[in-house]
Amino acid sequence: MTGMYFKPFEKAEVRVLPSGLEIAVIRKPGFVRKYAVLATRFGSQITKMRFMGDREEYELPEGTAHFLEHKLFEREDGNMEEKFSELGATSNAFTSSDITGYLFCTDDKFIECLGLLFELVYKPAFSDIGVESEKEIIKQEIAMTRDDPDWMGYRTLLTLLYNRHPVALDPAGTVASVEEISAEVLYAAHDAFYGSDNMTLLVVGDVDAEDVFGMASVLESKYGSRKSEEVEITDVVEPRTVNITERVIRMDVARPIVWIGMKDDPGVFTSSAARRRMAASVLIETVFGPSSALNDELYTGGIIDDNLSYDEHYASDYGYLNLVAATDRKDELIGKVKEAMKAAATDGIDKESFDLALRRLTGGLLRSFDSEEFVAYEFLVDRFRGMDLMERPSILAGIKLEEVNEVARVVFEEGKISILTIEPVRNGRRA
């Protein structure tokens, strides 16, 4: 890796306002689009909480965070999306397991849009009528995901990996849980999680950080900054081993799709999830990547006809890897993947593959920085999980082969692996 030169990484300039709101600015000179996300540390994995002083736990139906995200746009006189549209900007929002984010992008109306973003997030106007009509839209969103093999594969795999951890819950909830949501539930969740001190505003684009800090400070107080209600979140204890090792579901797909999940130990990486995550990414690059022996054997052997796809997901209290491939020769695929995992766990990774993976990952990371969406989303997710996107290149450069081998020993162990197969429906029937 000596002699590698690239332009220095962007720095995130961070400031915390007296209200507790954290603001981060990543400057992208020359970019047309200015992109801002106001995000709260609240996602689908919080389903129970206790307000301070209360004895009773408050239950949040599954899908509450996502429902709130939809309904926050509602206003008595229309919806907030319309106000962004009037400025020629686009707005959107997303919910994942531990984050809900509201965003806009604009070229020339940044300050106006920033005001609208605070108005959107700080000034809810939930109504029972609005909540009822939204249920139909969300049920169609759930129905749509039921027809999507990628989504069904990924979500089902998580339920196989995790016994108790709520990361396995579908962000949209279920048709039944969505029915339980009311305006009162949404207000309770907003009180608990939408205070300034629970949120981060991130701006990516050709902007001046000091200008953004100044504007945000004025606009935030205009729309009523406040602290979150103090709440306790119930922790879960997740076993080391997977919930279910194998399952088959049937969908209208052309041929079987195999998902393999690998569960890292909770707790072993609490000191530095960021470092553990980078080591895990090097591991899967070497074992499953396009230049790996396994990928080559599967591809040239006709067991797969596209490179394997794989990914790693880490937060402070969980971590897992996943692998997905379409194949007509499921048993051979699974057999060879297991052999490769066993070899990596037993013999370790060779130095040459390790060095190549570092080069590939470094270059890939640099390329990803050309996407403002990537920078915004990854920065926030990392931040909320105690990591820092901007440090990824330097963490990567410092990863040792031994750390990668240690991850291999843990995640490729028996009992840490779940396998899901989506089999084609036969005779037009789902099994």
């Binding site: 047309v32 686009t90 049920k139 969103e141 027809d147 093999p149 080559d296």
Partner: protein, 430 residues
């Protein structure tokens, strides 16, 4: 601002360069023009899949992929797409802006892409490798079958296939199954040596490079190998005269109904009336306050995903929605009523202005993505009229409410397609 400097190397070979320090990666993309047909789509797909398996210098796929790792995860990919009746084969190489072995990225990428296209792995007899051909044939056959897995894309394809069954635009995105099965090393090698080099080419590069060096490197890598002499044919064939609209349903094992509706729009990217059609489509279904979004989703709560798009070369407008099976007829009614309302001139100043600003942002933002910008330029090149983003924006701002209504009223409904659950009572349960 005009981003690209254009250089005509010879008839049928042009280079477009945008030196900029805005990005951390360098983007090199070769577009080859060809007439859209089962032959070109089938051969071009298979050929590109085989070419990207290995080069003479790195003939085994694992060696080739290892070489890409050494180049800091450089990537090579291809796409077979269409603009109206013009087929486009594009081969792309990109890498992080890092010097390798003293060579600039633009030099590395030019050499890499040229060796993929013109110096691939071959057998002792000089033919493209049989093992790669067999594997990629089976891969493409599987991709053809898997197109059905994505139900929205499938409904979209079935709409086009029905709507344009007598026009090249209706052909399958991966080409013809029977033809694919029949292709062996000899015909594919002949296509590679005899047909591909004759496709007229446009080569784009975006990144932090010196213009003179980039032009030299690209010329050295591609000149004499692309001869670009063959005529790619017209990009837009005549529109069939108005006929009765067709209503088609097909079955699938889905939870929702996937609705896809197509209209013929008498316009083309190069026409002076194109901005009014594009804006009409935007108001109809392409921005956050669009007619379809506000009525099908927000007012009726029938769909989560709903929208429309315009095909600018051939002049087609498509609407799509994923809806509750019980509400199919109502949804069709609402979509068609919204198009009629637009045609009747029911456009407010407010939505006209919002839609213009929304389109302007989308057009300007293409400059933040090399791939998006190159794609836009190609639409201009195919249709023989290029606009900078600012020119395109000012054309949109000139459109009046009357012109939007006139454009929408000229759309003729062609086909309504619904992909229906075979048994709407079931749902997939994990």
């Amino acid at each position: 601002m005009r981003f690209f400097e254009d250089f005509k190397i010879m008839d049928g070979l042009s280079v477009h360069l945008w030196p900029t320090d805005k990005f951390r990666s360098v983007h090199l993309q070769v577009f080859l023009h060809n007439p859209l047909s089962d032959d070109t789509v089938t051969f071009n797909n298979l050929l590109s899949a085989v070419l990207t398996r290995g080069t003479a210098g790195y003939p085994e796929t694992r060696q080739f992929n290892t070489r890409l790792d050494e180049l800091y995860g450089a990537a090579v990919s291809y796409a077979v797409s269409r603009r109206g009746e013009r087929g486009l084969l594009s081969l792309w190489a990109g890498m992080a802006d890092i010097e390798t072995d003293g060579m600039s990225p633009v030099r590395v990428l030019s050499g890499l892409l040229s060796s993929v296209m013109f110096d691939p792995a071959r057998s002792a007899e000089g033919l493209l490798r049989q093992d790669y051909i067999s594997q990629e044939k089976s891969g493409i056959a599987n991709d053809m079958a898997a197109l059905r897995d994505d139900k929205d894309a499938w409904a979209d394809f079935r709409l086009c296939a029905n709507m344009c069954k007598d026009e090249p635009y209706g052909i399958h995105p991966y080409g013809d199954d029977a033809l694919l099965k029949s292709i062996g090393p000899e015909p594919l090698t002949s296509w590679w040596t005899g047909v591909m080099p004759g496709f007229p080419a446009d080569i784009f590069a975006v990144g932090d490079f010196d213009m003179v060096e980039a032009l030299e490197e690209i010329e050295r890598a591609f000149k004499g190998r692309i001869n670009g002499g063959s005529d790619p044919g017209p990009a837009s064939c005549g529109m069939p005269s108005a006929k009765e609209a067709s209503f088609i349903t097909e079955g699938a094992d889905t939870v929702q109904v996937k609705l896809a509706i197509g209209w013929r729009a008498p316009t083309n990217w190069a026409d002076d009336n194109y901005p009014s059609h594009a804006l009409a489509n935007h108001i109809f279904g392409q921005y956050s306050q669009s007619r379809l979004f506000m009525n099908v989703r927000e007012r009726e709560g029938m769909a989560y995903s709903v929208g429309s798009r315009i095909e600018p070369t051939k002049g087609l407008v498509f609407a799509h929605a994923g809806i509750d099976a019980a509400k199919k007829d109502r949804a069709i009614e609402v979509v068609l009523a919204e198009q009629r309302a637009l045609a009747a001139g029911n456009v407010t100043e407010k939505e006209l202005n919002e839609a213009k600003k929304s389109m302007a942002l989308g057009i300007r933002m293409s400059a933040d993505s090399p791939a998006a910008l190159c794609g836009r330029e190609m639409t201009g090149i195919v249709n023989k009229r290029r606009f900078t983003p600012e020119e395109a924006v000012s054309r949109i701002f000139d459109v009046t409410a009357e012109e939007v209504a006139k454009a929408a009223s000229s759309w003729s409904l062609d086909t309504v397609f619904a992909l229906m659950p075979e048994d709407s009572k079931k749902g997939a349960k994990p």
